[in-house]
């Protein structure tokens, strides 16, 4: 087969030779003075407004600066904000740094923040990230369950002076300064000019960050940002970044291999062979605040017995799967939040997250076995096939259950079946936190209020209470959330699988790359090789 393939290729070599006239591309201009970076991006970007984007973090963080910033060690620092303070964890005062300007030259004021947050939160605007602002008092009035809102201003916001405003929250929340950090882009400011034409702003956002977009973005074309000379924060190490869109992560990876792209995402299918393709120095793996679970259909009585859920968990060999599928770049989960979270109670899952096929089989036996077929559901077309097939295999072999893995057509179908509770077996579940606090993950996955579309297990009222306590009493170190995780461990509603990593490959031009606390590399602080 191989030889025959070669034959076919040899024939095409001939034709290609003739047609391309044997030309080979000259080396791209290595660039002397200006430091330029080409980023291979593979996520579609329908709209670049910070309140609407959900997958252009690298770009948004280059064009905007957040109020607070969490570095790779989880240390909180202040960027656009001078301070974020509160006496009672409910009423917060945000003071901005003086001398910051937007790319259009106008100063960044408290009024800009308040106007932006009102715009993002206003229901009829239908901004995708508006949920990030739901902690602010008055959010529900802008997003009534029925009919039009009667006001377009958040009652919890008040401008004190040009550089100061106050924020009243719905409830005490010690994590608020962390929530204002880089990945919660709904909190980013927009200049007054944005409000005149939000549509145009979405194509060329004007920010307060180190780089400014040079032109309005058009579908399928690269996006270019250049150094903003009057930036008041830390000097960027690059003068220009170009984001080139790719339809497929593998193609971007191949183009990085050919040296046309300086940094791009490492696709899951190349995790095992990446060390053959790239030098060790050009592979960067960052722990991410993402964690995957196996959700449990709590509407199906076959999973009522906690021992059934624990048996399934113990029958999955996380170590082996991590090695075979992820090149050991991820890590087996030992708690319900990833260990990158401050104060994470590592190992709280205990023996039930460790591979022990005999104990698993015995536990299932004790619980009375499992009736009928067990189907693992996952959204198709997103590269989860190998993982789910591997898990189904494990369950078949170790528990003797007739287990199969079944993909949906896409996310839309999977999401609907999950929300309507019609899935008849354990299912794909994960949460990538936007700020590194256990609060983000625990509230998204285990809190009944306000809605629990992500919950892959029956909501536990005691966990809600523990979360409220931790929010009010806790501090940035996160230890207050251990209590909630203890309660979760006792109930074992869903099965923790893997702590995720965000992985990148780079060209030789990049010698240093740092990630922020959300696993995203900080593009404007890349260390470039000396030319």
């Amino acid at each position: 087969m191989r030889g025959l393939l070669k034959g076919a290729l040899a024939a095409s070599v001939l034709v290609t030779l003739v047609l391309t006239g044997c030309s080979s591309p000259g080396p791209e201009d290595a660039g002397g003075a200006p430091a330029e970076l080409v980023v291979g991006s593979t996520d579609p970007v329908p709209n670049l407004t910070p309140g609407r984007q959900s997958n252009a973090f690298g770009l948004t963080l280059s064009v905007f600066s957040p109020l607070t910033f969490l570095d790779g060690e989880g240390e909180l620092s202040y960027m656009a904000a001078e301070s974020v303070e509160s006496e009672d964890q409910t009423n917060w005062t945000i003071t901005l740094r003086d001398g910051w300007t937007f790319h259009d030259g106008t100063p960044v004021t408290a009024q800009d923040y308040v106007d932006t947050w009102n715009t993002v939160a206003y229901g009829p605007n239908a901004f995708e990230n508006s949920g990030q602002l739901s902690v602010i008092e008055g959010y529900d009035d802008l997003n009534p369950a029925e009919g039009e809102p009667t006001t377009d201003e958040l009652s919890g916001l008040e401008v004190v002076d040009d550089l100061t405003f106050t924020v009243a929250l719905e409830r005490a929340d010690s994590q608020f300064p962390i929530e204002l950090s880089q990945a919660q882009t709904a909190f980013y400011p927009m200049p007054q000019s944005a409000f005149d034409d939000l549509e145009a702003y979405g194509k060329q956002p004007i920010g307060n960050g180190p780089l400014a977009l040079t032109a309005a973005w058009t579908e399928g074309e690269p996006i270019v940002a250049e150094r903003y000379e009057d930036y008041a924060g830390e000097e960027p190490t690059v003068d220009k970044i170009t984001w080139v869109p790719y339809a497929d992560r593998l193609t971007a990876y191949t183009d990085a291999l050919a040296g046309n792209v300086d940094i791009t995402w490492l696709p899951a299918t190349r995790m095992r062979q990446v060390t053959d393709d790239f030098d060790e120095d050009n592979i960067f793996s960052f722990a991410a605040p993402g964690i995957s679970y196996l959700g449990i259909p709590y509407w199906d009585a076959r999973f009522d017995d906690i021992r059934v859920r624990q048996a399934i968990s113990m029958a999955i060999d996380r170590e082996a799967i991590n090695g075979a599928l992820f090149g050991d770049l991820n890590a087996p989960a030992t708690a319900w939040t990833p260990s990158i979270m401050p104060g994470n109670p590592d190992g709280i899952c205990g023996e039930y997250c460790e591979y022990d096929p005999e104990a698993a089989a015995a536990l299932l036996e004790e619980a009375g076995g499992f009736d009928g077929q067990l189907t693992l559901h996952f959204p198709g077309g997103a590269g989860h096939d190998d993982l789910y097939n591997a898990m189904a295999n494990s369950l078949r072999q170790n528990l003797g259950i007739d287990a199969i893995a079944k993909p949906s057509v896409g996310w839309a179908e999977f999401g609907q079946d999950r929300n309507n509770k019609v899935l008849d077996g354990p299912f794909f579940s994960r949460w990538g936190a936007l700020y590194p606090s256990q609060q983000s993950t625990l509230r998204a996955m285990f809190s009944a209020a306000p809605n629990c579309t992500n919950c892959g297990g029956e909501p536990i009222p005691a966990v809600d209470a523990a979360l409220n306590d931790a929010d009010a009493a806790g501090s940035e170190d996160g230890t207050a959330y251990a209590k909630a995780q203890e309660l979760i461990a006792e109930q074992f509603p869903i099965i923790p699988l893997f702590e995720e990593s965000y992985n990148y490959v780079t060209s030789d031009r990049i010698v240093g790359l740092k990630a922020s606390a959300v696993g995203e590399p900080i593009l404007t602080q890349v260390v470039l090789a000396e030319d």
Partner: protein
């Protein structure tokens, strides 16, 4: 001839309405909620979802949605996606890529397969004949992504002749490799058809008469055999062209060619109804028009087909 063409065009209008309606219904009865899926794993607030449903008319009954869509279509408005992007803008940026790719691939198929078919047909049973048969079938049995990725590594990375991805280098450099790979998958069918057609024609009475008349072999093959053998092949080639315009999803993804195939594939996955209908309708339209053209061409090649 005019009656023939106008009848085909009238049929086209009827098919157009039928097809758009069927596609429209098909997309909207698919399981899944495209609005809820916009947020992916991060659920959108209920109020945002409600607002988006109203904005895009998804809370209306299906027939009303379809009529609204047709109304827009009458004004040349193909609607917007659920993220507010104009469908016609999205297609406009992608059609040139797909058309360039499809035409390049198609031309390569035509030239190579007709040459191979002719060579095999004229030397029936020879080594050439058997090599062509075997070679094309083997090439076609290699999965297209294997061929695509392997070719990308060899020509793009090792040899550096063609770009890995994108259309920045323009035609022909950026298109030749993906087009060639697509073409390889059309060779087996068309060259065999051509071969059979040539064999049949060479054995027909009129060729024997021409030979008896003393006409040179070159003239017999070049003028008479080619024309008669081409009729069935043209039909198949036309259908292939239609297929190429919508069916190059894999190659478009591997070579990062932002074409219509990618757009349609993503749109179906995300259930972007208006986008699916827009792209699919255009595809159907192109397919129908190609068919009309083919009918005209074949009726010129072989007047017996013109049954009006």
């Amino acid at each position: 001839m005019i009656r023939f063409v106008s009848r085909r065009l009238l049929e086209l209008v009827i098919v157009f309405f039928g097809v758009t309606f069927v596609i429209y219904c098909a997309v909207f009865v698919l399981p899944g909620d495209p609005i809820a899926a916009l947020g992916g794993e991060r659920p959108l607030p209920e109020s945002v979802q409600q607002q988006l449903r109203t904005q895009y008319g998804l809370d209306l009954p299906l027939w009303q949605q379809y009529l609204n869509y047709l109304g827009g279509l009458a004004h040349g408005d193909l609607g917007t996606t659920f993220t507010g992007q104009s469908v016609s803008e999205q297609m406009a940026s992608r059609w040139p890529t797909t058309i360039t790719l499809a035409l390049t691939a198609w031309t390569l198929t035509v030239v190579i397969s007709i040459a191979l078919g002719l060579a095999a047909g004229l030397r029936q049973g020879s080594v050439v004949d058997r090599t062509v048969l075997l070679g094309t079938i083997i090439a076609e049995s290699v999965p297209i992504f294997v061929m695509g990725i392997t070719a990308q590594y060899i020509f793009g990375i090792n040899l550096g002749w063609t770009p890995i991805a994108g259309v920045a280098d323009g035609w022909p450099r950026a298109y030749i490799l993906p087009a060639l790979i697509i073409a390889i998958y059309g060779l087996a069918g068309v060259s065999r058809l051509m071969r059979g057609s040539v064999v049949d024609t060479m054995q027909s009475d009129f060729v024997r008469t021409l030979k008896a008349k003393g006409m040179s072999r070159r003239n017999i093959v070049g003028v008479h055999v080619m024309r008669n053998a081409a009729a069935p092949v043209v039909n198949v080639l036309a259908i292939q062209l239609g297929g190429l315009l919508g069916g190059t999803v894999v190659i478009e993804a591997i070579f990062n060619l932002n074409g219509v195939g990618q757009l349609l594939y993503k749109a179906i996955q995300d259930q972007q109804g208006t986008l699916v209908v827009g792209v699919a309708t255009t595809l159907v339209f192109i397919f129908l028009i190609t068919n009309v053209i083919v009918d005209v061409v074949t009726s010129v090649l072989d007047p017996r087909i013109r049954n009006d």
